[in-house]
Symmetry: C2
Subunit: 459 residues, 2 copies
């Protein structure tokens, strides 16, 4: 029986139960003891009462260390006067696996920094069991949201032959022997000998392939790992992270923003309903005010502001920003946070950015200066979603690519979509880890990734 | 309005509708024409009737090519006497995007080989729209299955510092400049200069990290991309594929097989219920007998046979196998298919393989010769799932690693799990693409992957 089931209403006084789990704490006196047992199914522990007169192996059990795995049979007793709603009076306790005394997770609090060095164990702590359960629930909520709307889930490829996706630095993927690289006549590395017969990298985005599938299925989304080989040692960047990229056909930027807002509200509601203990824990111990903020998001419309208006707001703010503000600049995190935290006090969409600071595929607005882009900014994080309406006009797209020095040959698939029944369409990317940070209040991306990969760090 | 909604019972005679989609066929006479429109939401097309007297732009519409994107407003008419249940009489047809006459997907049938060269377009054909919709539905069914059972979904890392995961050849991941590799004093490539400060590869399995999380949450699963740099040019191997790896604590090999059987039956039922048109299509045009076979699987228990018994069955078969049969050998696809297709005529579990042909982490049986491994074999494919109970005994595991020449230092995390509250546990890996092949009858893994990556081939 899972401990979750007991807490979900299956706890009756006098009921016989068998539970398996790991010792979180153990307090023993001579003939009597209490074990807090956790089986990972539920955030809270089950209290197990052990008595010398009932258990042959009482002495052995008493000597167990934190972390030991036990199999407990006993009788449930409701305890309305105590902190916990019920406990199990053990008739039998088997030791499945002992725990060595040097077990790193003793009762004392550990720093997140230390826990990052033991990623194989940290999910056993309160904080990380809450983080990774929420992560799992949010992933499911995202699939459920898109499934309910009839979106097709597409696995876009991770290994790509394109090194011009334009979203950032890439990792190279190779099977060439690095100590004996084959060379061509000019002395350059001969990639025709590599696994795929060409140079390959890890993708930075599934968007271009996502567009292919949107032109077949109408509404699609991707949800998979993405890579950036950027030398950014910040609390918000990882080299390997997960991204959700929906793409919708016959749709414009407004449809895109509506979808993004609906999705964010859906996953917030889902996690509040399905992980109330974890969310309460984050609110109490990680980020006071989290629940109020999320309630506020669910019950209000997101704000909307154009980039041009945003620049005016920033110029009028009287703030001393590290990066001075002027039209044409890219918004930095300090600007984004000012807008969402101090001006709007809620999530906002900033739209219609200057074309110079956005990607080639974003649809040119009629002003000829801005593109139909949107970033969704949230308090505490800054940008969480970036999206756009895509340029569906072949001539405009080719012109834009020429301006940016991109070769049409490298994008022949992408241009084909505009040759064969192209439609208005739009999409966005949600950084999954940033969403988890936002939902939990955790402030370092390393603490929401099971095994974070960042520059010079891989545990 | 989505075409799926019309077919789902929202088609009423006389109802005004607006639909967007792409032209699959267009037959026009002088004043009158029929367009088969598909919007990707549903396998079937919507018939649109165009009349010169109703449409100002009738002449222009008539000249559209297959693949053009249209926005159609009109009135629904039920057509009980016709092949299709209803049609739309168009009042207005807007051209969202024309299609060039050289559009590769004209009405004639194309070979799967040809279609692989245009992965950005092939999802627009009947076969591939069916394959990729089923792929999406099965992915959702898998998440739903594990979510209903309280499993935690874990994103195990793709980039790994371990090159000894033991499941196959690996791709190297690097940001070193291949034309200017940094070298150490011995002239070896200096990986301390690489992105992570060490040599890194793409994972071949998330199992080891999955075990970490199972020891925290009890029941977990992974579902993510996996890589093998193997030079196998077969219809069943890809260099990049998706894998599902559940891991369950306090569980043995029987629990593991029960979970695998429940999961396979669940996803078969799900896809039969949620994609009846697609499954009917596969049954008619791809693999006659598919539906009967799947029904048979859902309604019967899987077979069970030990490896030793399987060898006896093969020896007694009187068959002339390419690879001769003897105890100790690894089963080849020909053997697997004989067992599942000819002897059992249904999916079977083969258990208790010789330890020499299985991985170091599989639990040693009391006979000292075999391990608690299981492979699930299905007709038409062979192995679809491979799993085992894991060796939880630290001393036995270390002994086994020594025999196989594995260094304990490379597996310190893994050994920690046996030091700190190790429990009986088990798990398996399901190759997602093989499952899709099995469910659809498609016979080449390249035709169930959106963008297949195989040796020397990357479109």
């Amino acid at each position: 029986m899972k401990i979750k089931e007991l807490f979900a209403g299956q706890a009756e006084d006098g009921k016989s139960v068998e539970v398996c789990g790991w010792v979180r704490t153990l307090r023993v006196s001579k003939n009597f003891g209490f074990i807090e047992l956790n089986d990972g199914s539920y955030f809270k522990n089950l209290q197990v009462v052990i008595e010398a007169e009932k258990l042959e192996n009482f002495a052995e059990i008493s000597k167990q260390n934190v972390g030991a795995a036990l199999r407990v049979s006993g009788v449930l007793a409701l305890t309305p006067e105590a902190k916990q709603p019920f406990e199990v009076k053990a008739d039998r306790v088997e030791i499945e696996g002992v725990s060595a005394p040097e077990y790193p997770l003793q009762k004392k609090r550990h720093s997140f920094e230390y826990l990052r060095t033991i990623p194989h164990l940290r999910a056993r702590t309160n904080t990380f069991s809450a983080v990774f359960r929420v992560r799992s629930l949010v992933a499911f909520a995202i699939h459920k949201f898109f499934n309910e709307r009839g979106f097709v889930y597409v696995h876009t490829p991770l290994i790509t032959g394109s090194d011009c996706e334009g979203a950032g630095e890439m990792f190279q993927v190779t099977t060439l022997d690095q100590d004996n690289l084959p060379r061509d006549e000019q002395g350059k590395v001969d990639y025709s000998k590599d696994f795929f017969g060409r140079r390959t990298s890890l993708t930075v985005s599934g968007q271009l392939e996502g567009e292919d599938f949107a032109m077949a299925f109408g509404d699609i989304y991707t949800f998979g790992p993405t890579f950036r080989a950027e030398n950014s040692n910040t609390t918000r960047h990882a080299a390997e992270f997960w991204m959700i990229e929906p793409e919708i056909a016959f749709a414009d930027l407004n449809d895109d923003m509506r979808l993004a807002e609906d999705m964010l509200k859906y996953i917030i509601r889902y996690v509040l309903e399905n992980a109330p203990e974890e969310m309460q824990f984050f609110n109490s111990f990680v980020d006071k005010g989290l629940l109020e903020r999320l309630d506020n998001v669910v019950n209000n419309e997101f704000g909307h502001v154009t980039y041009t208006e945003a620049i005016e707001l920033l110029e009028k703010s009287g703030k001393n920003f590290e990066y001075p503000v002027s039209w044409g600049m890219d918004l930095q995190t300090e600007h984004e946070r000012y807008l969402t935290e101090e001006v709007f006090k809620k999530p906002i969409f900033v739209t219609d950015y200057p074309k110079e600071i956005k990607a080639f595929y974003m649809r040119l607005n009629d002003d000829g200066k801005t593109v139909a882009a949107m970033d969704c900014l949230v308090p505490g994080i800054g940008e969480i979603i970036g999206g756009s309406q895509r340029e569906e006009r072949l001539d405009v797209l080719c012109e834009r690519m020429k301006e940016m020095g991109l070769a049409e040959d490298d994008y022949s698939h992408y241009l084909d979509l505009r040759r064969y029944g192209g439609t208005k369409h739009a999409g966005y990317g949600l950084g999954f880890e940033r969403a988890i940070m936002y939902l939990t209040g955790m402030s370092n991306i390393r603490d929401v990734l099971p095994y974070p990969r960042t520059v010079n760090s891989l545990y």
